[in-house]
Subunit: 333 residues, 2 copies
């Protein structure tokens, strides 16, 4: 109870913009403990003002450097910037990402910038549940722009689009996988395309290829917005102003148009689904623990197939039909 | 109905070892259609004879080449070998894996070898549900050894261990991430360690490092089996015989000892959990679809937080407490 009260006290300090309180409440969200729940519920109801920008791209595309440059520029415009760097659980990429990250630490002394690394460990689909809470915490703490940076190694890049208002997809020349990436659905999730490292001589080809691919994929479904392709260079600073302009322009789409409302509603569907998925699977976990080894033993002896057994388990533990009847009855009474 | 009958007819042909029937039933399992369910249920009850070997390692560790060499050797011993190559959904690694794969196609003309690539798309945790069905199909078709090859880029390497009797983890010299890989839990899942490319001059250091790490991690929990470290070379053929010997030896552990039974029971728990997870989430999906946009709109307006809303949704649609009462009542009557 006292930790619950302490978590609620953190909400006031988060609202006042206290970075230590922000960090602590994110940690409590990550630990997933029940005592943070009431605080996070309050945070959720207070949030909704920040512009959430998802930024994704393949390893080596210079995402972290781009985020650093973008943050500098947004700071120059007086914006407070929160950054959530989502590291995949995979041990194989962790090192490189962290190395990139260190270059950004000079910004950590600026109170208008908050950087946090989060792991995806065990999350369904990639983006950790706590990352969505962290976005809200930064929002309530007064950060105008919250950047969610993810590595595009699977499900993450799709999830980040469903958790953000504006999705930036970063490509780089010479990685040789642009076309594959585009084929696999990156095309649809990008609101803004960036080709980084445009100081390189092979960058122009990547720009041209990407633009051609985008023309082929045009569906004309969202006439309010055509995803631009921006070439950037961290060395010359080229394209960063244009990126900020486009991000601002897309913010207006997200908050002031019908298609933006539909996007935000679809984000809410995703958030509800993700939360409900986790909750329901937790309950299934405790049902299975209660049942002991009887069911698995039947499976091991191959008396019954997994599908029929799972069906039997769920029908007896989560009886949907009865639920509907009870629903109907309680509506009648 | 007629497709259901056709699927059931496939089971007889699978039992007779018809490779076309094997391929077709795997496709039906992948498509997840209801008409394959009865056939897959029958397959499951018929299966249980094959030795399932999971083989995982980082990209570039030479897994595909090793699988090819291992398969050659198992064929020389008269074994029929089924190979499931699990490709991550990520577009970024697909190309390289497929390239490796092509080198194996000469074996595709041997009726004692069956190779199939499967995507992980959308599967919880990585390993597709259909992959587990495919193992059973190959088992029923008379393949003595079924190799599940996965790329260790996250959850997969842990899942493959929970779906196999024997797990082989492949490392390679010069990749520089052995230590990170070991830290992250690869150590615990391996029944057999392979260091590939042992013709390279830096291979010995990798072997020594790995052995030292393993000594540090020894818990003495499973005295029946100490995971060996085998150096292999696809060029000289070194180590492949030893690998086959160790795989055979571990097969006996899996099928003839108590710890092997516990492992197979834990695999059954995993299989049941995975199937039940999918089924329950499907039901949640249809509950959410029935509810329409009322719940997401409440979330979008920030009237309620995601956790409370998900709780409300699940309590009204999957009432566990009532289920327990009904259970108790039906036991009494």
């Amino acid at each position: 109870l006292s930790r619950n009260v302490a978590s609620l006290a953190l909400v006031d300090r988060v609202q006042a913009g206290d970075p230590a309180a922000v960090a602590r409440l994110i940690s409590r969200a990550e630990s997933g403990r029940a005592e943070a729940r009431e605080a996070l519920a309050r945070i959720y109801r207070l949030a909704g003002n920040a512009h959430v920008v998802g930024l994704t791209g393949v390893p080596g595309s210079g995402k972290s450097t781009l985020v650093a440059k973008l943050t500098e520029k947004l700071r120059a415009h007086g914006r407070k910037v929160g950054i959530l760097a989502i590291d995949p659980s995979s041990p194989y990429s962790g090192g490189a990402i962290l190395g990139d990250r260190i270059r950004m630490t000079e910004m950590a002394v600026d109170p208008g910038v908050f950087i946090r690394s989060m792991a995806t460990h065990g999350a369904i689909g990639g983006l950790a549940r706590a990352a969505l809470d962290a976005v809200d915490i930064l929002d309530v703490a007064g950060f105008d722009t919250v950047i969610i940076e993810t590595v595009g190694v699977g499900q993450d890049e799709v999830e980040v689009a469903r958790a953000s208002h504006t999705t930036v997809v970063v490509s780089a020349p010479g990685l040789g996988d642009e076309i594959q990436a585009i084929k696999a659905g990156i095309l649809e999730i990008a609101d803004i395309h960036v080709v980084s490292k445009c100081d390189r001589s092979d960058a122009n080809r990547t720009l041209v290829d990407l633009k051609q691919m985008l023309m082929l994929g045009m569906t004309g479904e969202e006439p309010e917005w055509t995803p631009p392709v921006i070439g950037t260079s961290a060395i010359s600073g080229e394209g960063i102003d244009e990126l900020v302009t486009m991000i601002d322009r897309h913010r207006r789409i997200a908050f002031e148009t019908d298609s933006g409302m539909i996007r935000r509603l679809s984000n809410a569907v995703f958030r509800l689904r993700k939360t409900a998925d986790n909750l329901l699977l937790e309950r299934l976990g405790s049902v299975l623990a209660d049942r002991g080894m009887e069911f698995p033993m039947r499976l091991l002896r191959r008396e019954v197939d997994p599908y029929s057994l799972a069906n039997e388990l769920i029908d007896s533990s989560f009886p949907r039909e009865h639920a509907h009847e009870q629903d109907a009855r309680s509506k009648l009474s």
